[in-house]
């Protein structure tokens, strides 16, 4: 495949010949278990536990039609089979409450993933995502120093609405963190070094400047602030970012006298990003090699950040809701050729009509759906790639389990059944899979849940020790006990 996995070892040696002189070399010398335990001791989370509480949302676009989910690992879910013991596959999860009249279900259905609510705006969910509820429950005063509170990353192209791709939301439904959509951006956000001044005097004075900024931000977020609650949340968020900046710009120097030269980030991305990645909804041409190459680098960096305990909450997206690409390339899996992608030629069209998206529109249970199957299989392979990175030797923690086993990792998507205008068909049967969350959930099974997403999520939140629940306060919920140990 296009790239080798990135591990701490390879990062220390350099990615693809590019030297990565991380500012966190010392951190990288710790084992994940040591690091996790150290942080657990300083944080307010699961103090009696030997591993930290973590929650991540993993999203893929366009979904898996419900009939194909019934085929189990013999069908498009085949790539998940090596991880079957670490996952609980959930079928028949109903997200119909996420439907918003007048909007196709790519968008509202995808916003319901991890929130179980319809959107409040094109960049705003109907409520918090489950990872953020867990974060606030376990770290009400913020993550331990040195951590990035939430990381949102993804390889995707369609971007006309934020919630097509960003999958972490605050309590008020606003995005919990901005999207990092290239490996370089993600690297910078996770490990990036703030330009420091060579002149120690100037460096000290810069710090004094920042102290005055912090003081003013604290005034606006403190008890005497003239601001209302919502505004204070904004300023508090800003203050948190300032403190992160402060730590990277100044404290690192003090703690790391052996600090090396500035880090060299991964190479610039060569695939489209920004507006050119979504040319008027018409889709783009991309090769399988380019797509997978960038995604895997991103996934490796994200996994590395988790292993280094740099991040405990966030989301990762592989292709957006309603994604539009015209994929080309030979798709191989387990030594066999699964399919030869060439969407535009096979659909005999360019533009939007030539995109793989249309295979979902054309889904017909009575037909082979060969192209859709291949695309869905590919998505499962890439999701499995990321998950397996959290299940390797570098991810083994103090309790003997891997990060995949210890974390609450929720995999979900948008539509299910192809007819995007058919809410009932599309949002009944949305694919879900979850990891064990350190023994809180069953794994190694496939459950026919037959329940609303909101009940599933609230059950998960209860199991994670969060007291907040999604949805209306007066709603009579239903606990899905079958998922719990």
């Amino acid at each position: 495949m296009p790239n080798r996995p990135i591990t701490r070892r390879t990062v220390l040696k350099g990615i693809g010949g590019v030297t990565i002189g991380l500012p966190l070399l010392e951190e990288m010398l710790f084992s994940t278990a040591d690091s996790a335990t150290a942080h657990a001791a300083t944080g307010s989370d699961a103090a009696n536990s030997d591993v930290p509480v973590r929650a991540f949302n993993v999203f893929f676009g366009l979904g898996i039609p419900a009939p194909l989910q019934t085929e189990g690992f013999a069908g498009v879910l085949e790539p998940l089979k090596p991880l079957a013991d670490k996952l609980l596959i959930l079928r028949n999860v109903d997200q119909v409450r996420g439907d918003l009249p007048g909007i196709n279900a790519h968008y509202d259905g995808s916003t319901a993933a991890f929130t179980a609510e319809p959107p409040q705006g094109t960049a705003r969910a109907g409520g918090p995502s489950i990872d953020q509820v867990v974060r606030l429950a376990h770290y009400p005063r913020g993550l331990p120093p040195g951590m990035v509170p939430t990381i949102v990353a993804g390889t995707f192209f369609r971007r006309d609405r934020v919630s097509r791709h960003s999958k972490c939301f605050n309590k008020d439904g606003t995005v919990a963190a901005p999207m990092q959509e290239t490996p370089r951006e993600l690297f910078g956000r996770l490990f990036g070094e703030i330009d420091s001044d060579d002149d120690p005097r100037r460096q000290r004075l810069r710090r004094s400047v920042l102290d005055s900024v912090v003081e003013q931000a604290r005034f606006y977020t403190g008890d005497g602030s003239p601001l209302g609650a919502e505004s204070k949340v904004r300023l508090a968020d800003h203050l948190e970012r300032i403190r992160e900046y402060e730590q990277r710009a100044f404290q690192m120097d003090e703690k790391s006298p052996r600090r090396r030269s500035a880090p060299s980030p991964p190479p610039e991305s060569t695939i489209p990003h920004g507006g050119v990645a979504d040319p008027g909804g018409e889709g783009i041409d991309i090769t399988l090699e380019d797509l997978v190459g960038e995604w895997r680098l991103l996934a490796d960096l994200y996994a590395l950040a988790i292993q280094m305990d740099r991040v405990r909450f966030g989301s990762l997206t592989f292709l957006a809701a309603g994604e539009r690409i015209r994929l080309k390339g030979k798709y191989e899996y387990a030594g066999r050729t699964v399919f030869e992608f060439d969407d535009a030629a096979q659909r005999k069209s360019g533009g939007s009509n030539g995109c793989s998206h249309e295979w979902w529109h054309a889904f017909n249970e009575k037909k082979t759906n060969e192209q859709l199957r291949a695309h869905a299989h590919l998505k499962m392979r890439e999701i499995a790639y990321f998950l397996s990175r959290l299940d390797d030797a570098n991810s083994r923690e103090a309790n003997g389990r891997t990060i995949l086993e210890n974390s609450m990792i929720t995999i979900s998507t948008e539509s299910g059944d192809g007819r995007h205008n058919d809410v009932k068909r599309e949002l009944s049967g949305v694919f879900h899979a979850i990891s064990g969350a350190n023994g809180r959930f069953k794994t190694g099974e496939t459950l026919d849940v037959k329940a609303e997403g909101i009940d599933l999520y609230n059950t998960m939140l209860a199991a994670m020790g969060a007291t907040d629940r999604l949805g209306p306060a007066n709603r009579a919920g239903r606990s899905i006990d079958a998922i719990r140990m």
């Binding site: 003239p226 209302g228 800003h238």
Partner: protein, 890 residues
């Protein structure tokens, strides 16, 4: 509820009190509101706690500041006591003689359609009038007690454009390039990039703010800046007292309002830290400014406290996208903005400022999502002639068109739908298949008696010769620069050219030249030692050489002052100096891979230092040195197009525009000229005219010119309506057209399908009027399969009981222009952009008032913006103020 309201009121009073007397709000809160309010006159407290909320809750919706019913404005003391068109309504001390009480007591007010007034509230009102209707002068404006509306006004981080303008206004530094490079781009939310809820902050923002602050301070003359605020006689190494004054003054300027004591103290501590490091007062001032530029007060619009400063901030950011200027700040300091007339006068003044035009362009860009054009990538197989430059031309077309309607003509915004004019580059004109009408009046290059400019956004200073090819016939190409004696050109070979609307096509060996030497031009250039040669041309082929002369000032094949020519598949410029040979060599050659047989903008600049640049389509493509002064320029050469003056280096192609300047234009000016469109009269082109006939909106339908996407765009963006999801049984896969099956027929299948008709008749029938426009804005009578195209259809305005038919796109545009619904749609979009938040149901009364007030002022952009900023939504709605609960729960 009553308790909560009272608490809110107490806090509001505390804030007003602290603002009035310079006390910190947290100190006020800490001491408790009871002690503070005890010091207030009882009548004042009674009015604010009891009376004002009743008036605000039950009366101001109709009798507020904007278009008050019966001309009765109960939002302020003066207007309330003055009464309305039925005379005075409040007789102090005599409730039974007061029309206000009479209506309330009789149950006529509030009207039945509104929540009834409780007996308690009625008693409060009657007792207040009976007690003399005391209305404390200090709090003349009661409308701030209007209950919180659905859309909250949070603190708002400055957007990138606001940040740039705020830095410029605060300290006079242009940091636009660096800010756009360092700050993350704003992400659209609910149709606009300034939606407050999505203006989050990431680490990159904090890092960028720090870097930008350092850049700004480096570029400032900080000593001069600080000196403006220094006490008389103090030096740069000021003592603490003087420094305090300087900091207070700089803070008022940079942070857009007076500093509080704790803020001054923080900056003094910073200055002290600089002193401990051995720095002097000047250095301390630099660091203080750097800190101010990163402070939340600078980076956010914090309009939390009712009063003039909050209002001045709202006014300026809404109208200008920039902070208050000194005049507005002075008015805020003096408390003059509590008077409606004063506010109105400032609004008039501010709308005359160029910043208002710039802000209106931002609004249009956001409303119509013009940034989307930057990433248009039509299928090259379907649109092989598509040129990416066209996307930028389309953006400029729409912006120039908006400026024409909204500013140059000051016309009602409804004319955005059907004004018979547009603005095109030669490239876009060719793409549309349009020629300029001969009746178009040429621009006179900025001369005092010039008509409304036909050419938009062009540099005019030091223009020496300007040819726009608008003559349409004859053998003279007129110089319309207005720079002096015209340097007209004579077509010496009429049979070798063809006049076309706004262009001259050279089909054979031609010569188009001045009769004699252009002495005025030669003198100006040799004096300045600078020049710009500019041409919009379409080469006939990629093989002509010599170089083939596009524009030359020369005498034969080896003597020249300059020549812009084509050498096969590249452009070439020869320019004579004392260091070149008489033939102007060595030449500056453009790259070989970017010479196309489509309209192309070429510019060559040479500055006095000898730096020569060649731009193609506004982008620098070659750079070289052209050292040496110009004293050897030939004084008897003729200026010529299309050939060497000796007739042996002919060039074939089309001229759209030629200009010569006696200075080197800046890169920004070259880009502006390359993008600057020309005005096209469309009175003879009924198919076009109006926003919906421009490429910027027509491309919304994608390559297939989707009638669904276009129709929904009109429904959502203009008619503020929507439709439900398609029914479950319907396959929404787009059906391609083919011979014998046009997109119209496919659309009609949906429109006539019983399952689809209920919705599709609400939007897709509208888009039938655009069916002659393809996916990239071209206009055709037949589609690519040979099917005949039609543009008749019908429009069902939301709320109407029947559809209105139209026979053509022109009729559709007229219907939209005349539609009250469309007018309100524009009002809503402008209001949303102004407020920076999605509108809610609670905004409806205010929106209606705004729209009515705008119509009374002619429905123009000026009228609309005036109505918005004079409305309660802007003038009086409280920000997201702290409640007592907020304070204690943190």
């Amino acid at each position: 509820m009553r308790v909560a309201s009272a608490l809110l009121l107490l806090v509001a009073i505390a804030l007003v009190w602290s603002a009035a007397f310079g006390q910190r709000p947290n100190e006020t809160a800490a001491k408790g509101t009871a002690a503070d309010t005890a010091a207030e006159p009882a009548a004042q407290r009674d009015f604010e706690e009891r009376v004002a909320p009743v008036l605000a809750t039950h009366c101001l919706e109709c009798h507020g500041t904007t278009a008050p019913k019966a001309e009765l404005d109960l939002s302020r003391k003066r207007s309330a006591l003055a009464g309305g068109k039925n005379g005075e309504v409040i007789a102090p001390g005599e409730p039974d003689e007061s029309l206000l009480w009479e209506h309330v007591d009789a149950g006529r007010m509030p009207p039945r359609s509104r929540p009834a007034m409780s007996d308690d509230d009625k008693r409060i009102l009657r007792d207040w009038i009976a007690g003399g209707a005391e209305w404390p002068e200090e709090h003349a404006d009661i409308s701030r007690f209007v209950p919180r509306r659905g859309g909250s006004n949070w603190v708002r981080r400055l957007t990138v454009p606001e940040y740039i303008e705020t830095v410029r206004a605060a300290v006079g530094v242009d940091v636009a390039r660096e800010a756009r490079e360092l700050l993350p781009r704003e992400v659209r939310a609910d149709g606009f990039g300034n939606t407050a809820y999505n203006l989050t902050v990431d680490l990159r923002h904090v890092e960028a703010h720090a870097k930008l602050a350092a850049i700004v301070v480096r570029r400032m003359d900080t000593a001069a800046f600080a000196a403006r605020f220094a006490p008389r006689g103090s030096s740069s190494d000021a003592n603490d007292d003087a420094l305090r004054v300087i900091i207070a003054g700089m803070g008022r300027r940079v942070l857009r309002g007076p500093l509080e004591e704790h803020e001054i103290a923080a900056y003094l501590r910073l200055a002290e830290a600089v002193g401990k490091e051995g720095g002097d007062g000047a250095e301390a001032q630099r660091y203080v400014i750097e800190a101010m530029l990163q402070s939340p007060r600078f980076l956010y619009r914090i309009e939390d406290r009712p009063g003039d400063h909050a209002l001045s901030s709202r006014l300026s950011y809404i109208l200008w996208g920039a902070p208050p200027d000194e005049e507005l700040s002075r008015a805020a300091d003096a408390g003059e903005l509590s008077e409606r007339d004063n506010v109105a006068a400032h609004v008039r003044r501010m709308l005359d400022d160029p910043r208002a035009v710039a802000q209106s362009r931002r609004f249009v860009s956001e409303w119509l999502h013009l940034d989307r054009l930057d990433s248009l990538r039509p299928d090259p197989k379907r649109f092989p002639k598509w040129d990416p430059q066209l996307a930028g031309d389309m953006r400029e077309e729409t912006l120039a068109y908006f400026e024409e309607v909204a500013w140059n003509r000051d016309r009602p915004l409804s004319e955005l739908m059907n004004a018979q004019v547009t603005f095109l580059t030669p490239r876009l004109a060719e793409h549309y298949g349009l020629q300029r009408a001969a009746s178009e009046q040429a621009n006179r290059g900025g001369a005092a008696d010039a008509p409304a400019p036909r050419l938009v956004g062009r540099a005019t200073r030091d223009l020496q010769a300007f040819y726009t090819f608008d003559e349409g016939s004859g053998t003279t190409v007129r110089d319309v620069s207005g720079a002096g004696e015209p340097l007209d050109l004579t077509i010496e070979t009429p049979s070798a050219v063809e006049w076309q609307g706004g262009r001259l096509k050279v089909t054979g060996s031609a010569l188009i030249a001045t009769a004699g030497p252009p002495t005025r031009l030669i003198d100006a250039v040799t004096q300045s030692q600078e020049i710009t040669l500019e041409a919009w041309v379409t080469p006939a082929n990629r093989g002509q050489n010599g170089p083939a002369r596009i524009l030359t000032l020369s005498s034969g094949i080896s003597q020249r002052n300059f020549t812009l020519g084509q050498e096969a598949n590249k452009y070439e410029v020869r320019f004579r100096t004392r260091r070149s040979n008489p033939n102007g060599q060595p030449s500056l050659d453009g790259p070989t891979n970017i010479l196309y047989t489509r309209p192309t903008h070429i510019a060559y600049t040479r500055d006095a230092a000898g730096k020569a640049l060649l731009y193609i389509d506004g982008t620098e493509q070659a750079a070289g040195e052209s050292r040496g002064e110009l004293s050897n320029w030939g004084g008897d050469f003729r200026l010529a197009l299309a050939n060497e003056t000796s007739g042996d280096r002919s060039w074939k192609g089309t001229y759209h525009l030629v200009a010569l300047y006696s200075r080197a234009l800046t890169p920004d000016e070259v880009r502006g000229n390359a993008r600057g469109p020309a005005r096209y009269d469309l009175s003879a082109v009924p198919a076009r005219g109006g926003l919906l006939t421009q490429g910027s909106t027509l491309t919304i339908g994608g390559d297939d010119a989707s009638t669904v996407a276009r129709g929904l765009f009109v429904l959502h963006e203009l008619l503020y309506s929507g439709v439900d999801d398609p029914p479950p049984c319907v396959d929404t896969t787009p059906i391609p057209a083919k011979p014998g099956l046009s997109q119209r027929e496919i659309a009609m299948q949906r429109i006539t399908n019983q399952a689809c008709a209920a919705c599709h008749t609400r939007f897709e029938t509208i888009a039938l009027g655009l069916m002659k426009f393809d996916g990239v804005g071209g206009h055709h009578e037949r589609d690519e399969h040979g099917n005949t195209l039609r543009d008749d259809g019908e429009i069902l305005f939301p709320g109407a009981d029947r559809a209105t038919p139209f026979q053509s796109s022109a009729e559709l545009m007229d219907l939209l222009s005349n539609s009250e619904r469309v007018g309100m749609g524009i009002t809503r979009k402008a209001t949303q952009f102004a407020l920076g938040r999605p509108l809610t149901d609670a905004d409806e009364p205010a929106l209606r008032a705004i729209h009515a007030a705008a119509r009374e002022q002619g429905g123009t952009y000026r009228g609309l913006m005036t109505a918005i900023v004079m409305s309660d939504l802007v003038r009086t709605t409280a920000a997201d103020e702290a409640t007592a609960n907020d304070r204690t729960s943190n």
